[in-house]
């Protein structure tokens, strides 16, 4: 069932056992699992069925620290959420990403990759993926990894019909859950604003915010402030340990044999470090995106010339009527160490049109990030030279320790952390089942629960975690019903 606003949902008489907030990949995946198990679930979507400037305006905010994207552009507030603009790149986080690392404080998830692997078949179906192949070590230090460029499932398009026809699932559009109300042990209701006015409170047995890696923290921070700590009783880590995947052009390469590695449809291949190399060099995980320029013959020679003598190449390029770049470009995106000071807070001065504080993102890269970029490129370059696959040139700004270029991609639009998973209530918000510490009926879905970020695009891991959470909730609700 799909309702245009909260009033029409109310008049339907549908009584949900679970309220999911947000209709992106996490919210839709969890809700579909519950509905399939026969559990009535309502999804509150603050936006409408389509993009609107009015809805996006609620996402405006401020970033303090390193340059970052506008906060009302880096995410989407309507049915389907960020699946409406993601690129479709898929990979599950590496096993090593879940492990604690003695060299990096506050790493280590309470679950392992093996806890998510049973859900991979399901994830493949949800995201329309072909099976992943295993990583291929090309040296002791470097793996040739697979990053599947999927058709980029738009969750609204793919699942609209299923939701419309579902008897146990209700998507309620234009329904902004402005706050959760709680008594320190359980959530008692969700205040809803819809069609321009307050609609009172929606009560259910369970609540699952899935509003994204920025908004989950904002909703819980505001709810906790309003309820004097009644929604997140252990709030030391709430909003903290926020992470992104910094992403910059790191240099160039010339390959001896361009067919050495199978390139994907747009002539790209991906490489990451071995766990041993990360440990030995003291760096985080990273991914090198190798982009082979599609040149052959004289153009290829010119492109290779551009690597070593750009001025001569420019002159020669003009003589053949082309503007050519170095034979291969290397983009690097990497794992950011989790740091308490990278955090989301409520603005003390700015509020949205309903009077709810806008969010303020405090985010900086630090020394280990630069070291990961530089040493990661060195590991990759050494492997290519040792194996005689090719040669790598590291960009001057990285070698010189210059500031990060402001005219590049900056990061991946990957919002992670803020309600991270862990066993220590001082350093995490949710437990291994994604239940908020100390709360009986409040769970969190999406990338805000990431304890660490790994290096790969997060959607595959988000969907796997959501399938797992959907199963967990369905089991728990089923057991409660049997006990009654």
């Amino acid at each position: 069932m799909i309702f245009e606003n909260f009033a029409s949902f109310r008049s339907s008489g549908f009584t949900p056992t679970v309220v999911v907030i947000g209709s992106g990949p996490a919210g839709v995946t969890i809700s579909r699992k519950l509905a399939a198990a026969g559990i009535p679930v309502a999804i509150l979507e603050a936006g409408g069925a389509e993009y609107s400037d009015e809805s996006q305006d609620f996402y405006r905010g401020k970033t303090v620290g390193d340059p970052y994207f506008d906060l009302d552009v880096t995410r989407l507030r309507y049915f389907g959420g960020c699946s409406n603009h993601w690129a479709g790149w898929c990979r599950l986080m590496d096993a090593v990403d879940f492990e604690p690392k003695a060299r990096v404080p506050d790493t280590g998830w309470p679950i392992r990759r093996s806890d998510l692997e049973p859900y991979l078949d399901e994830v493949h179906g949800i995201l329309d993926l072909v099976p992943f192949r295993d990583d291929v070590p090309i040296s002791e230090d470097i793996r040739w990894v697979q990053l599947i460029k999927s058709p980029a499932v738009r969750f609204a398009e793919k699942y609209r019909s299923e939701i419309e026809q579902g008897a146990n699932i209700a998507l309620v559009l234009d329904s902004y859950a402005t706050e959760l109300q709680g008594d320190g042990s359980k959530v008692t209701g969700a205040a809803v604003w819809s069609a321009g006015k307050a609609q009172g409170t929606l009560a259910a047995d369970y609540y699952v915010p899935c509003t994204g890696g920025l908004e989950n923290s904002r909703l819980l921070l505001w709810s906790n402030e309003r309820s004097n700590g009644g929604v997140v009783p252990h709030a030391e880590a709430l909003g903290r340990y926020w992470m992104e995947h910094p992403q910059f052009e790191g240099g160039n390469a010339i390959m001896k044999n361009p067919d050495q590695f199978e390139m994907d449809a747009v002539s790209e291949a991906f490489f990451s470090p071995s766990a041993e190399a990360m440990e030995r060099t003291g760096i985080m995980n990273f991914g090198v995106r190798f982009i082979q320029m599609p040149y052959s013959g004289a153009k290829r020679l010119l492109a290779e010339l551009a690597c070593v003598a750009p001025e001569s190449a420019e002159w020669a390029s003009e003589s053949v009527g082309s503007r050519l770049r170095c034979a291969a470009q290397l983009y690097v995106s990497w794992e950011q160490a989790p740091r308490r000071e990278n955090r989301i807070v409520l603005s003390s001065t700015e509020r949205d049109s309903l009077g709810i504080p806008r969010l303020e993102l405090h985010w900086r890269k630090n020394e280990i990030e630069h070291r990961t970029l530089l040493e990661g490129l060195r590991l990759f370059g050494k492997t290519l030279a040792e194996k005689d696959y090719g040669r790598v040139r590291i960009a001057d700004w990285i070698l010189n320790g210059d500031p990060y270029p402001a005219d590049q991609e900056l990061a991946g639009n990957h919002h992670m952390g803020g309600t991270r998973m862990g066993d220590d209530v001082k350093k995490s918000v949710v437990d291994r089942d994604q239940k908020v510490h100390g709360m009986a009926n409040l769970y969190v879905g999406g990338s805000s629960v990431f304890t660490t970020s790994g290096q790969c695009n997060p959607t595959t891991t988000i969907v796997a975690l959501s399938a797992r959470l959907g199963d967990h909730l369905a089991r728990r609700i089923g057991q409660s019903a049997m006990a009654r």
């Binding site: 010119l302 290779e304 020669a316 030279a385 040669r391 590291i394 070698l399």
Partner: protein
């Protein structure tokens, strides 16, 4: 050989190959040839390039 005939005889590919070689030589010439005890396969970093020492000769 007259200039016009020279231009016809030299292919675009060979011009580019020469162009490729000249600046690359200039890049590497400033560095000394490996001493006898240095391993030619040893990796070195020169102007950001990660190369084998033998390539500096």
């Amino acid at each position: 050989m007259a200039p016009a005939r020279f231009a016809q005889a030299v292919t675009r590919r060979s011009i580019v190959q020469v162009l490729l070689a000249v600046p690359a030589l200039a890049l590497f010439r400033q560095h000394a040839a490996p001493a006898p005890q240095e391993r030619p396969d040893e990796l070195v970093e020169v102007n950001g390039w990660i190369l084998k020492r033998s390539e500096l000769a």
